[in-house]
């Protein structure tokens, strides 16, 4: 469009970004497909978006809070930027139980995607990061935006200056730390999005030891902790020594169906120090007070309800519903002779299509079964030849999807 340009130079970091963010891309493809096949019943196992209603006990608490905002006694204005005290306490006591996490170390937020960005603001442009490969794209994209990376290299599919730690079946989906170069910050997601792998206690002990020895900071994303079925740790702070090297981010999104409601939290332990001894928590608090104005009070009321004993039972049963979905999908792919990973401790199945490009598999599945998935390379070059199938959907959709996959692939 012809127009008058300002003389403001576009942020070079924005220029470095490749294409759109992954999930809006997927959403766009879904829309295009629906236009092409207006009568097709498209089943979305792509974007990890929760589908089941939030339990009444939680929503009525939010509705009550909303109604109270119309009363003199119940009205509340600005909340503490760090979050409602009762909620911070409830998170500490209910979700961290006997781990020594204090309520003052918990920062309530409007979700992990925002928290990741605020953590990057905290860290600034002069830190180096390592990510798993494949990985949830926000760690990389936020790193590019804040100026920690070099350019994207088409040949490798990687940004310069980020260390990519391959996570494959061969290394049990956990980085081989003996070959990992050291960086300031290490992003680890467990249970993992997209591979579905939950790191074992031993793997996390090695990680903490590695971080201690190299004096790095681990940013541990435990958004899927509620999906852990076995003995795998649900928090990095289950590992001794983690308090001095780790930050943990988490979310009510996949735990309570709060993808639209928006609620999460970050734990920054008091003992975590920058190289000059300055506590990271002090700077994070400053960031939160300056860049943010608290999560919505209604969402926080909902969060508190989730953490009551009845609330926990209710949201856990929805989690169990999605876990059953994951099992159904996993079994379907396995029965078709495909190698399937994940699905046990996470709502994602990670399916291997040897020798095939993941966008091609994505397209073929979409074209022939009207099922949306996510191509593995969207999560990094290490995701090539894989497809992520998410288990969020109504049971009948999951069953229908299974039927269609069986027809196509058997």
């Amino acid at each position: 469009m012809a127009g008058v340009c300002t003389r403001v130079t576009r942020n070079l970091n924005m220029e470095k970004l490749r294409n759109g963010y992954l999930f809006p891309e997927i959403a766009m493809r879904e829309l295009e497909h629906m236009k092409k096949y207006p009568n097709a019943k498209v089943i979305s196992l792509g974007i990890g978006d929760t589908t089941e209603p939030i339990p009444d006990i939680v929503t009525s608490s939010m509705a009550n809070h909303a109604r109270r905002l119309s009363t003199v006694e119940g009205y509340r204005g600005y909340g503490a930027e760090q979050g409602n005290k009762a909620l911070r306490k409830a998170i500490a006591e209910t979700l961290y139980g006997d781990l020594p996490i204090k309520d003052t170390e918990i920062f309530v937020s409007d979700g992990s995607q925002c928290d990741i960005s605020r953590l990057q603001l905290l860290l600034g442009s002069n830190v180096t990061i390592a990510v798993q490969d494949p990985t949830f794209p926000a760690y990389i994209d936020s790193s590019v935006i804040i100026g920690q990376t070099g350019d994207f290299q088409d040949e490798t599919g990687k940004y310069q200056n980020i260390k990519y730690m391959p996570c494959r079946p061969q290394n049990n989906f956990f980085p081989d730390l003996t070959t990992t170069a050291t960086t300031d910050v290490i992003f680890i997601c467990s249970p993992n999005n997209p591979t579905g792998h939950a790191a074992s206690r031993k793997q996390l002990e090695q990680l903490v030891e590695f971080a201690r020895a190299n004096r790095s900071i681990i940013i541990f994303d435990s958004a899927y902790a509620a999906y852990v079925t076995d003995e795998s740790p649900r928090s990095i702070f289950e590992i001794p020594g983690a308090r001095e090297v780790a930050i943990e981010i988490s979310s009510f999104s996949k735990f309570a169906g709060f993808t639209g409601v928006r609620l999460g939290w970050t734990v920054v332990p008091d003992e975590l120090l920058f190289s000059n001894g300055f506590p990271v928590i002090k700077d994070y608090n400053r960031i939160v007070c300056t860049c943010f104005n608290g999560a919505s009070s209604i969402a926080q009321a909902g969060g508190l309800a989730c953490l009551s004993s009845d609330g926990l039972m209710a949201v856990q049963s929805v989690v169990d519903y999605y876990k059953e979905n994951a099992k159904i999908l996993g079994d379907t792919f396995t029965s078709l002779g495909l190698d399937v990973y994940g699905g046990i401790n996470a709502p994602y199945a990670w399916v291997h299509f040897p020798g095939m490009k993941s966008w091609d598999v994505f397209t073929e599945l979409l074209e022939k079964t009207h099922i949306i998935t996510v191509p593995g390379c969207g999560f990094g070059p290490g995701g090539e030849e894989h497809i992520r199938v998410s288990a969020f959907g109504h049971r009948e959709c999951i069953l229908e999807a299974s039927r269609r996959l069986k027809s196509l692939l058997s």
Binding site: C5, C114, S117, G124, E271, P279, C289, S296
Partner: protein, 459 residues
């Protein structure tokens, strides 16, 4: 297990990070802060405790530049300290601009309805569009920008102005220069520091290096003398003006838009108090011809609907706004929204829609009217006491002049002698010194009582 934090220095509503605050020195290898920085001056002392583990990650130098904590948590901290000191005093808060009146039922019933709907199959919704619900975007466009040809697709719904300004700064990056009004809402400056756009704080002038401070005082009618302002990439401008309370005139804004155009600058226009305007001052920068090619507008439901805790706002980025290479700013802002944000809460958005129904709009106007009446009472009080009083007509803030006095001293004296919390003008920038901001967000009874106390103190 010992903790490095000896006391809850981060209380739920405070951020007591004055430069001189020290953390727990029980740690024998504590780094003792020098007066204004956190450079480690390690003190070796014999100890039986193990050495604290430090990571090798350098503290972000931009964070180290910040002076003290963000202003409003500091005010909150002083208020809490005062209440501890005088447990029986009835402390009245006219400091932080926090709304106090209940949200009209027509609006909260929209919230409650959405909450209940999330428990139903038909009503459940997950992730929303990062730019906001289509209906709400359309309602904002038609309600506030009706005949200004701002479209729904130019509107980005958010969780409030502070977050939006933060995201705008992230989008602009560290290599832009910025100008702010002096005094101004502290988030513009603090975020600029955090993003690395500024130099160090210069104590003698109380300004950060590399920021252009545009002085606004009674002499220039609280509008900058643009002939003395150097070119910067970004210009932050708030009107109605927080903290001084005046609204820029059409003529002034026309000059401002021309200034931005001539300099190829981007104007970030904060119109969060537009509904408080009593006269015919512009309510949106887009009322000024040519503004779409130079301006972004940020606004909020906070002060209209009492949504300070509910969290809902919006930013307008016109399609016509282009970087120097022709790239549309809106495209980058959209990318930022999709990557660093995940939409405003769907319940907040539902209530935003209720706000913009005819009944909702009427209810908001009534609420705003209530606070405006508070403002009048406060203005009359200080005027009757012989003070030079500014603002108040078009904003919920009264800007009172205490010539020759340090505003923190005045703040402390008022707090000590009347138990009323205000905000010292210097908290908003050096040109704010000698002024106190009194905000009009309070129950009517509290406003009347506060004014009685002011009269006693200053008659």
């Amino acid at each position: 297990m010992y903790s490095l934090m000896s006391s809850p220095s981060i209380s739920s509503s405070s951020s007591s990070f004055l430069g001189q605050t020290h953390f727990d020195s029980r740690n024998p290898n504590a780094c003792l802060p020098t007066k204004d920085s956190w450079i480690c001056k390690c003190v070796a002392t014999p100890s039986t405790e193990t050495t604290a583990h430090t990571t090798k990650v350098s503290r972000n130098a931009n964070m180290a530049k910040l002076q003290a904590g963000y202003l409003f948590p500091e005010i909150a901290r002083r208020r809490s300290a005062h209440m501890l000191k005088y447990p029986d005093a009835q402390v009245i808060s006219l400091g932080i601009g926090d709304t106090t009146e209940p949200i009209p039922e027509v609006i909260t019933s929209g919230m409650a309805k959405k909450a209940h709907a999330l428990s139903t199959l038909e009503g459940y919704s997950g992730y929303g569009a990062e730019q906001g619900e289509k209906q709400l975007r359309a309602a904002i466009a038609s309600t506030f920008y009706g005949d200004l040809s701002i479209e729904e697709s130019d509107i980005f719904v958010s969780d409030g102005a502070k977050s939006d300004i933060s995201r705008l700064q992230v989008m602009f990056g560290s290599n832009v220069t910025m100008a702010v009004q002096d005094p101004s809402y502290p988030a513009y400056v603090d975020l600029s520091v955090i993003l690395g756009q500024t130099g160090q704080f210069q104590k003698d002038v109380e300004k950060y290096g590399n920021i252009e401070y545009m002085k606004c005082n009674p002499e220039n009618g609280f509008f900058p003398d643009l002939s003395t302002v150097s070119r910067t990439d970004i210009i932050f401008f708030c009107s109605p003006y927080n903290p001084t309370g005046n609204a820029a005139t059409r003529e002034q804004l026309t000059r401002l838009v021309q200034f931005a155009k001539d300099n190829g600058s981007i104007l970030v226009y904060d119109s969060g108090y537009a509904m408080y305007i009593s006269d015919d001052s512009p309510r949106s920068i887009f009322e000024i011809p040519g503004a779409k090619e130079v301006a972004i507008e940020v606004s909020s439901f906070s002060k209209y609907a009492g949504f300070t805790g509910v969290r809902l706002g919006w930013t307008v980025v016109p399609k016509e706004l282009l970087y120097s290479d022709g790239f549309p700013v809106a495209k980058d802002f959209n990318r930022i929204e999709c990557t660093t944000f995940n939409a405003a809460s769907n319940i907040s958005q539902a209530s935003g829609l209720a706000c913009l129904s005819p009944e909702g709009l009427e209810a908001m106007h009534k609420l705003v009217g209530f606070y405006k009446e508070n403002t009048n009472i406060i203005m009359e009080t200080f005027t009757s006491l012989g003070f030079s009083v500014y603002g108040g007509k078009n904003a919920p803030y009264v800007w009172v002049h205490f010539p020759g006095q340090s505003s923190w001293d005045v703040f402390s004296e008022i707090l000590e002698k009347t138990h009323v919390v205000t905000t010292p003008g210097s908290g908003f920038g050096p040109a704010g010194d000698g002024f106190i901001r009194v905000c009009a967000f309070s129950h009517r009874g509290n406003v009347l009582e506060a004014c009685k106390r002011f009269k006693r103190l200053y008659k």
